[in-house]
């Protein structure tokens, strides 16, 4: 059984591509390859990962320029055919700018960059990305962003809730989704959402930074493990 292939798209200005590659290669039956944004061949990847960073320096708007790269045109087609796409931090912003996910990210409410561990509630563990977690499980994952303030119009928000597309919410260590636990002002403490079809997930926290006890948490590991397990299951 050949390994599950993660295709990590590298934009000029991405800087968490390396971290994602290390985590994916460490998974028993998975391997990672880097795809330069100018290429339009996704190298038969099973899962596409859009990494964190500052694509195009986040100039104009985070992710605004990256969406025009040849690789992104392919990723949109790949997602349209049901391919699995995971967008982390800047990757999530690029998915929103490309129309693959709803809403947009505004400047954090305190108008400062924030890098710290936060607690997240797994609001929907019934997805290909989160099946390894318990329902409403509270996990510790770090965030590192300046524009993570999720916003969308009322109608979109209503649909996201109704279709159970909200996958991760900021909460405190007891699981309470209080406003104090909301680091950036996101509506309804939204930290990560999935598209209606269930094959494109975006989240602002960095699971790839929580896969090693020496770094402070291993709660991010289950996200990658869920993906591999579900892709293997689908192949059988």
């Amino acid at each position: 059984m050949s390994k599950i292939k993660f295709g990590i798209v590298v934009f000029p200005g991405s800087n968490c591509d390396h971290d994602g590659e290390v985590v994916c290669n460490a998974l028993p039956d998975a391997e990672a390859r880097l795809i330069w944004h100018r290429e339009s061949d996704l190298q038969q990847s099973d899962v596409i990962l859009l990494p964190g960073g500052f694509s195009y320096g986040d100039y104009l708007r985070t992710g605004a320029i990256a969406k025009f790269s040849p690789a992104m045109t392919e990723v949109v087609r790949f997602a349209g055919q049901g391919g699995l796409v995971l967008g982390i931090c800047n990757g999530f912003q690029i998915l929103q700018e490309s129309g693959l996910l709803e809403g947009a990210m505004m400047r954090n409410i305190n108008r400062k960059f924030i890098c710290k561990f936060v607690s997240l509630k797994v609001a929907n563990n019934n997805t290909l990305f989160t099946s390894g977690y318990g329902k409403d499980e509270v996990i510790r994952i770090p965030i590192a962003h300046g524009d993570g303030n999720f916003t969308a119009d009322a109608e979109t928000l209503r649909q996201l809730q109704e279709n159970n597309q909200v996958v991760f919410r900021y909460c405190d260590h007891t699981g309470d989704e209080s406003s104090e636990a909301n680091p950036n002002g996101s509506l309804y403490n939204i930290a990560g959402i999935i598209n209606r079809r269930g094959n494109v997930l975006g989240l602002m926290p960095h699971p790839e930074r929580a896969c090693d006890a020496l770094l402070g948490s291993t709660d991010g590991q289950k996200l990658f493990e869920s993906l591999v397990r579900n892709v293997v299951a689908e192949r059988l």
């Binding site: 400047r107 409410i109 916003t151």
Partner: protein, 87 residues
């Protein structure tokens, strides 16, 4: 012949302008009490080397739709001004 497009990109009124609120607060602390509201957006100047105005206008409009403004939360407007040669 060339045109300068003066583009204003503003947050849709329904969207909470946290930056604007913070600046408003700062102005109040400098006791400019008569400032009743602040909204902050982007001002972008494009130099478009086109001879006729309609082409320049089309290009500017497309640039705003495709890249410069985020349709989810921003509105845009622009004026065109004739300038000599675009350098």
């Amino acid at each position: 012949m060339a045109y300068r497009a003066k583009i204003k990109i503003t947050l849709r009124p329904s969207i909470l302008d946290t930056q604007g609120k913070a600046v408003h607060h700062a102005l109040e602390s400098l006791n400019y009490q008569s400032v009743a509201g602040v909204r902050i957006g982007k001002y972008i100047e494009l130099e478009v080397a086109e001879s006729d105005e309609s082409t320049a206008s089309r290009i500017t409009d497309e640039a705003c739709k495709k890249l410069l403004a985020n349709p989810v939360m921003e509105d845009y407007s622009f004026e065109l001004e004739q300038i000599g040669q675009a350098n």
